[in-house]
């Protein structure tokens, strides 16, 4: 991460704009125990109350780290039912990083956000249809499979 990802200009700009970066050693207590740390690098997205909303384990290149952080931020908003903010971040993710590993989950979560904010089930079916076309081998396409019947 230090050699490739963190020096990347786009990564630096994204983190400066959206996040407070906090770095601690894997054995730092009490955080290591509090977060059940088992391996490094482990990257966790927290809200401003310190609540965890996403974690990844292992190296991520710049073109995967940024959408992963976008997804973590979107999940934070989703978990707190701030659907408009979640949708804004998901749209940005899908516009800027449509080929990233985070994109299929973003399509799924976008459908759920739209459903939960409107109570209209059509976005769920739409999410499945988009996943089937654009990410047919993704686990998120499988998870959305029941929505084809809506």
């Amino acid at each position: 991460m230090d050699a490739v990802t963190y020096p990347n200009e786009s990564v630096i700009e994204f983190i400066q704009k959206y996040m407070i970066p906090l770095r601690v050693a894997f054995d730092a207590q009490p955080l290591s125990t509090d977060f059940n740390l088992k391996w490094t690098p482990t990257l966790i997205t927290l809200d401003a109350d310190g609540k965890e909303h996403q974690r990844t384990v292992g190296f991520l290149p710049p073109e995967e780290l940024i959408p992963s952080l976008m997804l973590g931020i979107a999940k934070s908003y989703f978990d707190r039912e701030k659907f408009s903010e979640a949708l804004s971040m998901l749209e940005k993710l899908l516009k800027d990083y449509p080929k990233s590993d985070s994109a299929p989950e973003a399509v799924y979560l976008r459908g759920v956000c739209r459903y939960k904010s409107t109570h209209d089930p059509k976005p769920l079916k739409g999410a499945y249809e988009q996943l089937q076309v654009n990410y047919p081998l993704s686990e998120w396409t499988k998870r959305a499979y029941p929505y084809r019947l809506l």
Partner: protein, 33 residues
């Protein structure tokens, strides 16, 4: 924009900044080697 990431090292400082700046926290557990 700066050229490097300026990391916080204390959780309470990071949380206080996140609240003040309306941002999320990226917590990176790393192996200093």
């Amino acid at each position: 924009m700066g050229k490097t990431i300026i990391w916080e090292t204390k959780m309470d400082v990071a949380i206080a900044r996140a609240k003040a700046e309306n941002k999320h926290v990226l917590l990176d557990f790393f192996n200093p080697g």
